[in-house]
Symmetry: C2
Subunit: 297 residues, 2 copies
Amino acid sequence: MFTGLSAFPLTPVTARGVDEQGFTKILARLTAARVDSLGVLGSTGSYAYLSREQRKRSATLACQVAGEIPVMVCVGAISTDAVLHLAEDAQSAGAAALLLPAMSYQPLRDEEVYALFETVTRHASVPVCVYDNPRTTHFRFADELLGQLSSLKGIRSIKIPGVPDTPIAAAERVAALRQHLRPDVTLGISGDASAGLGLNAGCEVWYSVCGGIFPETAKQITQAAAINDAERVTALTHRLQPLWDLFRKHGGSIRVIAAAAGILGLTDADCLPRPLLPLSAAEVAEVAAVMAALDLK
Amino acid sequence: MFTGLSAFPLTPVTARGVDEQGFTKILARLTAARVDSLGVLGSTGSYAYLSREQRKRSATLACQVAGEIPVMVCVGAISTDAVLHLAEDAQSAGAAALLLPAMSYQPLRDEEVYALFETVTRHASVPVCVYDNPRTTHFRFADELLGQLSSLKGIRSIKIPGVPDTPIAAAERVAALRQHLRPDVTLGISGDASAGLGLNAGCEVWYSVCGGIFPETAKQITQAAAINDAERVTALTHRLQPLWDLFRKHGGSIRVIAAAAGILGLTDADCLPRPLLPLSAAEVAEVAAVMAALDLK
């Protein structure tokens, strides 16, 4: 399941808690598009803002709606105890894999992060994907540490935050990292603006926020990557530059994706967990204009 | 209560959860030293690693042991809902004040942080101290935002992370920030290595990790500050340089303080919540040597 398009949906949240109806609509949109896998309760899935109970219910719902499509559930938390409880819940819900970041409060040492992954893979009965997202977790994985983690039997994929911004540098980066890894561990690109570069550099999977709301648009790109049509991958991802620009302008993708979910009628216009605030009406109009101009779907 | 020495104790945690016996011993040491207030479940108090239930029990225990000494309880969490629940719990436990950081996962906008504090102060019936700790929360408060927050009726103090490292620059920094604040909002220095500079620059309170385990040592400093004996404040804090060096060497104070609690026989040698790991035996010996050489108590 660690190849192709892994769609990372928003978990819509209103003042009454998780909007399960909206979440179901988002999930159904992804299953209808036959994405290769789902990555629920990731950063855009607001895992960090939800209670254990909310995460358990959301994971269960996702697995129910997903049917045959495998679901990876993010089990990130600041304490190892909490991660273990979340991993139990995710597996009970039917998760086919776990996504584990090194969420930090006190800055973590490499040996602490290694011990976290060793503990979780020892307890888990499904494979684990390493989630490297320094922008939100404030931990930077060294390649050597990723190499050590990939030697753990349960680790099957690494979600990397991006690649350098030229094809040659991206290919060098992916090759350099790959040298440290067990051969059957896949690399997945995230940071949607890097997706084309990452896929063309040999990443086997796109862990995609864009794919979590515009699955048809994202799937064209992973399908082109699957037949090694690098030119088409580049053209399709360059075309989406106005979307990447919106992500950058609004301090990450989540506020833009929440606006898009509202525009598509899948959720309320305000569907972010507090303290996050929705975009202004003018900003939402700009998102709608980009969606229309690029025919995002 | 927002003046003098506010002692920030460790919450010792073992594989069985919060070590309530150890926590009680640490708290009793602080009340015996008659610190001016307690700041429990702060960063060194591992709030970010504990469940709601663990935080409720720890806050209750602290208020019981503290007796007449006012207790401030940190209610930090990534979601506003969680903060509101924790604030309720802390107030039920007997907290005299709440300490509120802008804990972030998605990078926060100023208006989101303002709305968080506005919501919490509106719901709380005890005063709130703003907790500015960018090292762990990854949010930087602009002076203008602190000014807006200080206009909220419930805000009574601001815990700042440090000051520039000369007396003149520190005084200028404190004066510049003070211009933005309502006059009855106190400034508290944290980042123990900055304590002397901060107190001499006019901070009314030391929110002190050192004071959470070595209250007699810390109290000498705030007592000197209380009679404006700047020279003595400087001498006493310079003397502690080897302790500040240990904090820096070990990526912050918490691992050093946990080692110290073990050395003092207040807790197990391993009393940090996972994924945090205790210092090595050699590192603990170095902490013990500094404690002995400086006669920390």
